[in-house]
Amino acid sequence: MKGRLVVSVSPHLRKKENIPWIMWMVFAALIPSGIVGIYTFGPASLWLILISILSAVLSEAFILALRRKKVTIFDGSAALTGLLLAYNLPPEAPLWIPAAGSFFAIVFAKQVFGGLGRNIFNPALAGRAFLIISWPTYMTDFAKPFTYPDAVTAATPLGLFKNAGMDIHAMGLNYMDLLLGRRGGCIGEVAVLALAVGALLLLVLRIISLHIPLSFIFAAGLLSWLFPAQGFAKGDPIFAVLSGGVILGAFFMATDYSTSPLTRKGQLIFGAGCGLLTFIIRRWGGYPEGVSFSILIMNAFVPLIDRYVRPPVYGRRDGSGAKAKTVP
């Protein structure tokens, strides 16, 4: 019995959730979208995904060994970063692209800041930002959907929307195509229905809450509806939400624990900020899609949000906790 008696302060409640369980559940929730992506774009996408995961895990092991830390590559966090990075790649990128991106994501966005839970920016998105700035030609070259030979074009719907001013009908698409992923885009972002299934799993398991995704989607949709390129309140919010990476970003990347606010109110602000920035980048920015940059920018605001949005102090009725000085 000796050594099994643990003396500790309250709370003594224990839950079965731990980091590996959560990480692998999110990983599992992303698998349906990957399957649809591979089906849509062909086997090249599978190789991109595998290399991205492998590179992320190896980079993690390398850096942890270098830092003389316990090598925790089976906790799923590095694998999840690799998977998310691959989901943000165009399906026919050269195979070294995911390797370089995962290396950057793990080494410079995660381990340099102190590793799991200490990173300021979402590692997968930082990896993607690194890739799109370094090799813009590979990162914006979208292949035609593999299994749908009658798909009109290789460009992404958002690219056409921005550069050619086409609407969804001019592209020869309908909302069903967007839901099922019959369009150009990144590997993991096109299959909206499959992403929704995964998101539902995470919501049921209470790994994520709806605060960030809903405020993100609502803000992006509302602004796209209110302020289209011409006129007022004539935009297409459904197209805006389904055509890019909003669903993938809102449910799976903006909700990352270590890079999102702690309080519900803070999460609503964070999500709405992501939606606003997505709209701004899509409308006035240099890139057709702005989800990843908007999440990265809002990541930088998380400490500020957490500082000013504080829950009421327990036991106070007037709700003045937010103003109370809690730190001596």
């Binding site: 370089a100 340099v112 700035i133 370094s134 090799w135 813009p136």
Partner: protein, 197 residues
């Protein structure tokens, strides 16, 4: 003699102005995109550093304490003007590429810092050695940042392509690349320094 040499050698690694004291980051980040720029900038800054250290050490007894900073700036600015005109006359291409960063040597923290922290408190010979050592340390640090950035960012060395079929890492010639390279090199410096202790 040994002490004089120590004043020279400290600037190269142990008190490297960029990697250890972390001064003069503006030119380090801005002109380290190619090795050629880095060498040019390093020589220009070293000349100004040695010359201003010499003069400031010489006039330290005459300058009233309260107005020493403006006096130092007049001395430094004079030498920077010399460098600027000489460079425009004899190396116009380099002068064009370095652009605003040549006149900006006036406000280079390393030069001002050495004037205030060293030359105004020491004799001429140690001040010259300090200026030489710090200048060399600055040049070497600038060149090591530029070496990494030029190879990775444009696949070239002194403007010549070294690896064919290499897709340059664009980010390395942009501002984030400078900060990343500098961070990694400072980390490496700290690693080596800590290992010595």
């Amino acid at each position: 003699m040994k002490k004089i040499f120590a004043e020279f050698s400290k600037g190269i690694f142990r008190e490297n102005p960029i990697f250890v004291i972390v001064l003069g980051l503006c030119p380090t980040l801005a002109v380290s995109t190619s090795l050629e720029n880095a060498v040019g900038m390093g020589i220009a800054a070293t000349f100004v550093l040695v010359a201003s250290n010499t003069i400031i050490s010489g006039i330290k007894g005459v300058v009233p304490h309260k107005i020493r900073i403006p006096c130092f700036i007049v001395v430094i600015a004079s030498f920077v003007t010399i460098v600027e005109l000489v460079m425009a006359g004899y190396a116009p291409l380099l002068a064009k590429r370095l652009g605003i960063f040549v006149p900006l040597i006036v406000v280079n923290c390393i030069i001002m810092g050495r004037a205030e922290a060293f030359a105004s408190r020491n004799n001429i010979l140690p001040s010259i050695m300090d200026g030489l050592g710090m200048g060399l340390g600055f040049t070497l640090a600038l060149c090591s940042v530029a070496l990494i950035r030029e190879i990775l960012g444009s696949g070239k060395l002194f403007g010549h392509i070294i690896v064919k079929g290499f897709d340059p890492v664009n980010i390395m010639v942009l501002a984030p690349g400078a900060l990343l390279t500098l961070g990694v090199l400072i980390a490496a410096t700290n690693l080596i320094k800590n290992r010595g202790n």
